[in-house]
């Protein structure tokens, strides 16, 4: 049972990272390397505000949201806007990698390179076992984020603009949509999603500067397995990856865990390249 619960908790974090990928991808067609680093910032700044400054968990969450949103916005301004507007090549891979590296090193210099504790958010004894908040907080947070995102897409004008841009950016622009502003907004929202997830999972991951790249990779695997562009796919892909990691470590040992993760990605790419819930790309001829 512990394998199932801890696998789902880790999977929830991967799923939230995949959701953040999706939001940014919908408006820019970019898979930003900074996606995992957003969650890292949520955890680190949450821990800093609560433990370092002695403020309440709510203020810690607020700080994480603000930092995540700001980082999302800066990702668009620094690494996406000019690169995407001036080149059709995938140079955003380099620009987002550079920004991710700068942020990781910067946090390492300021926060330190050893993992640091993330505070208890709700009073609860550590002997709670499977009911421990470190497992269910990330699961609940990711569920709420997914529901919120779905409502945003379906019920708000901005959400509909996201959908319009994801289908055809040029057509959206031709109809007078300020695509640059919408894209910037999508990066802010992705920043908030990632930071909330990183904050909720802080007790599992600790506040650790090097968490970003691991999440960037695992979030991408979850996204590719679930299907690029599908939020349901992101949730299913994240949960599947988390569970597979946990059960493979349990059954055959941790040395094969990464092989199994990447093996899952390869298997899905070979059998169903669009992912479990992804839309098949049909090119009209």
């Amino acid at each position: 049972m512990i394998v199932l619960v801890s696998g789902l908790a880790a999977g929830a974090l991967f799923a939230a990272t995949a959701l953040a990928y999706n939001v940014m991808f919908s408006t820019s067609k970019v898979l930003s390397v900074t996606t995992g680093h957003i969650a890292m910032l949520g955890g680190v700044f949450g821990a800093y505000v609560i433990t370092g400054l002695g403020l309440s968990p709510w203020l810690g969450l607020l700080a994480a949201i603000l930092v995540g949103g700001l980082f999302g916005y800066l990702t668009d301004v620094i690494a996406i806007r000019r690169v995407v507007s001036r080149s059709d090549e995938h140079l955003w891979l380099l620009s987002t990698l550079a920004l991710a590296t700068i942020v990781q090193q910067g946090v390492g210099l300021w926060w330190g390179t050893e993992p640091r504790p993330f505070p208890r958010l709700i009073p609860q004894d550590f002997s709670a076992g499977l009911a421990d908040q470190k497992y269910w907080l990330p699961i609940i947070a990711t569920g709420l984020l997914a529901i919120g995102l779905e409502l945003f897409y379906r019920r708000t004008l901005y959400g509909k603009l996201f959908v319009a841009m994801s289908e055809d950016t040029f057509a959206a622009r031709a109809r007078g949509i300020e695509t640059d502003r919408i894209r910037a907004l999508s990066y802010v929202i992705a920043g908030v999603i990632g930071a909330v997830a990183g904050f909720a999972a802080g007790q599992l991951t600790f506040a650790f500067f090097a968490l970003g790249l691991t999440l960037t990779l695992n979030g991408f695997i979850a996204l590719a397995v679930g299907g690029l562009g599908s939020n349901v796919g992101a949730l299913v892909g994240g949960a599947a990856l988390g569970l597979l990691n946990a059960f493979s470590a349990n059954a055959i040992g941790g040395e094969y865990q990464n092989t199994v993760s990447v093996g899952l990605l390869m298997a899905v790419l070979l059998l169903k390249p669009e992912g479990l819930f992804g839309a098949r790309n049909v090119r009209p001829v």
């Binding site: 512990i2 993992p115 600790f206 941790g254 040395e255």
Partner: protein, 389 residues
């Protein structure tokens, strides 16, 4: 030609005839991962290295020559370490190389420094880093990984009288190799671990592994990993389960970072790790004299208060420069062949970290006698209490 002119010419001729090194500094290349994921040890070692250089220079240098420290931050990255090692030996033309700090980096740099024929002080612990034939001028100052493991195994088996061992390593090269060595050494003592596993250093929860160890009947947990996050989770899993099984293993279970990661202070009890005698308080509550002398000298530079990190790293850094000083004095200069000879004939060189001896066959300078086992939660002023025997 007047007397004054002749005097000038004579002086010029004298200067020109002096060997090149006599006019220059003794250059020490210091490959240190001052930033990056493995920086804690390097930052502490750097304090010792810098202090020793300043102290020796303030006393007039070595054989009248000042030491010049050429530091390069490898950020814990083997590719950077290789690039800086090449720069140090070929461009900077250093006389000695100290480091790098981490075994993974050292595996990459040691052949380069060896090819250049420059003496290399090794401060990584894995066995493969020294070899009298392949790398004749690489000499290790730190203990070996095997010495840590032997000390921990001996304590678990002979003192705690435990023989149902669970080995938990991490999936890094270092963790895998350490867990393998630990298993081999236990086999020599006739013990087969009841449970053995490797865990991803970033795995978010070790409850499953600890449950399995308990189900297998383990009466001691022996973790072989330098990843403090993983070790913190392991100690937390044991505490949350309410399982008071002893943990005996890698020195990182004593790291100050662990104190912050554990859920409750009492979770850290019944935890032991291999550590140097030099930073172990004796029964009278005092440190060995040489360690205390260095603590007293360095304390003002370290803020004047309680030292809240592992002092053995500082002592090791300090000793590496003092070893360089000793070798230059013994060799009468910086000729690499003479330095090699000086190392090979050095016996019982007393340092703050250890008492070193090297031979033509053995490049490991740290003696078995200088390793002991500490109680993890007793860190005070950078040192620990000895584990009860």
């Amino acid at each position: 030609m007047g007397f004054r002119t002749r005097s000038w010419l004579a002086a010029l001729a004298l200067v020109a005839s002096m060997p090149a090194w006599a006019q220059s500094t003794i250059k020490i290349g210091w490959l240190s991962s001052l930033t990056g994921p493995l920086s804690s040890a390097a930052i502490a070692e750097n304090k010792g290295v810098e202090f020793a250089v300043e102290e020796i220079n303030a006393a007039g240098g070595v054989l009248g020559h000042k030491l010049e420290l050429v530091t390069r931050d490898t950020a814990g990255d083997p590719t950077k370490a290789v690039s800086f090692a090449q720069q140090l030996v070929f461009s900077e033309k250093v006389h000695f190389v100290i480091g790098p700090v981490n075994s993974g980096e050292t595996l990459a740099t040691v052949p380069i420094v060896a090819r250049a024929g420059i003496p290399n002080l090794i401060i990584g612990t894995i066995d493969e880093l020294v070899d009298a034939k392949k790398y004749p001028r690489a000499f290790r100052a730190i203990n070996t990984n095997r010495q840590w493991i032997e000390a921990a195994n001996k304590y678990a088996i002979e003192v705690l009288k435990k023989n149902k061992v669970a080995i938990i390593g991490d999936t890094s090269g270092y963790g895998t190799s350490s867990a393998k060595t630990a298993t081999e050494l236990l086999a020599k003592a006739g013990i087969k671990p009841v449970f053995s596993t490797l865990v991803d250093p970033n795995k978010t929860d070790l409850t499953d592994e600890m449950n399995k160890a308990r189900a297998a009947g383990a009466d001691v947990i022996m973790p072989w990993s330098a990843a403090t996050g993983l070790l913190g989770r392991l100690i937390n899993a044991r505490g949350d389960m309410g399982w008071n099984v002893p943990i005996v293993g890698h020195p990182s279970v004593m790291a100050p970072a662990i104190r912050k990661l554990i859920n409750k202070p009492q979770y850290w009890e019944n935890t032991f790790a291999a550590g140097p005698v030099s930073t172990t308080f004796r029964a009278d509550g005092k440190l060995p004299e040489r360690t205390q002398a260095l603590v007293d000298k360095l304390r003002p530079r370290l803020g004047g208060g309680e030292i809240d990190y592992l002092f053995w790293w500082v002592a090791l850094g300090y000793d590496t420069v003092k070893i360089v000083e000793h070798m230059v004095k013994t060799a009468g200069g910086t000729d690499p062949a003479a330095i090699q000879k000086a190392f090979e004939t050095t016996r019982e060189l007393k340092g703050a970290y250890a008492t070193y001896s090297w031979t033509p066959e053995d490049r490991n300078g740290f003696p078995d006698l200088d390793i002991t086992v500490n109680v993890a939660n007793t860190l005070k002023d950078g040192s620990f209490k000895a584990a009860p025997r």
